[in-house]
């Protein structure tokens, strides 16, 4: 069985009086089990050419609803270097395509997704580069 881990560290020496040094690690498992995940899209790098959600072309599909069983884990990073070149992650399944979160230049996110929604990305600037990976258990 494969072992996949995700570690987050948060550090600051001057935000608080005492030093902030937080580190958490989780082993990614199939939903409601202790069995490790088995599938991944692999790490992908793409250019987003759309500056709007909805019907315009050029958005990138990060995850298609129900592609994985239950939740999948999404890692995504905005590879742009100019502040303000944001990437918007939105839910393409729900009415109104609500934005889930946004990444400014250099930002990354890691989140266990809902699983039954399609996630897409559009950018503030055309083109904008991202890298992303989804990990989980295929249906």
């Amino acid at each position: 069985m494969a072992t996949t881990t995700a570690t987050l560290t948060l550090n600051s020496s001057d935000l608080l009086t005492d030093e902030l040094s937080l580190s958490v690690t989780t082993t990614l498992t199939q939903t409601t089990t202790s069995t490790g995940i088995e599938d991944t899209t692999g790490l992908t790098r793409k250019k987003i050419t759309s500056t709007a959600k909805g019907t315009a072309s050029g958005q990138i599909t990060l995850y298609t609803a129900d592609d994985f069983a239950a939740i999948g884990y999404l890692y995504i990073k905005n590879l742009e270097t100019t502040v303000g070149n944001r990437i918007y992650i939105y839910d393409d399944t729900s009415s109104g395509d609500p934005i889930q979160f946004q990444l400014d230049a250099g930002d990354f996110a890691f989140i266990p997704m809902h699983g039954d929604k399609t996630y897409k990305a559009y950018a503030q600037t055309n083109p904008s580069s991202i890298e992303f990976m989804v990990m989980g258990k295929d249906q």
Binding site: T4, T26, T29
Partner: protein, 137 residues
């Protein structure tokens, strides 16, 4: 200015070549690379089942930068919490899972809401931000 860094490392032997992905960023205020986020809310709380609760209800200013970290400390693998922002499902954290996102607080209603499923979940959370509109008492 405060300097706070966040880093993620993903490691796996799922593929023939081991996966080893690392990314880091310095948590900056919106629109700048010279001034770091200087406010933080941090807590640990038990979330009982039965209702949806506001985990963070002092709404950060919509146009400002905000980073959200949440970890589910539960050990029962069937327990999880639903994380929502402004009634939109954002993610599900099963026992031991964590998330870190630049949150999108797009309007005054964009509280962070949480629902506990399976049993009482213990949650650790941190919000790094640069502006909060306090609710008048």
């Amino acid at each position: 200015m405060a300097t706070t860094t966040a880093a993620v490392t993903l490691s796996s032997d799922l593929m023939s070549a081991n996966i080893s992905v690392s990314a880091s960023s310095t948590l900056m205020k919106a629109g700048t690379t010279a001034d770091g986020l200087d406010q933080m809310d941090y807590g640990v709380i038990e979330i009982p089942t039965g209702d949806q609760y506001d985990l963070i209800c002092t709404t950060p200013t919509a146009s400002k930068a905000t980073k959200l970290y949440v970890k589910n400390h539960s050990t029962d693998e069937t327990y999880y919490v639903k994380i929502m922002i402004d009634a939109q499902d954002i993610g599900r954290l099963y026992a031991g899972d964590w998330m870190f996102i630049p949150a999108d607080f797009h309007d005054a209603n964009a509280d962070i809401e949480i629902t506990s499923i399976g049993g009482t979940n213990t949650i650790e959370y941190a919000l790094f931000h640069e502006g909060t509109t306090l609710i008048a008492s």
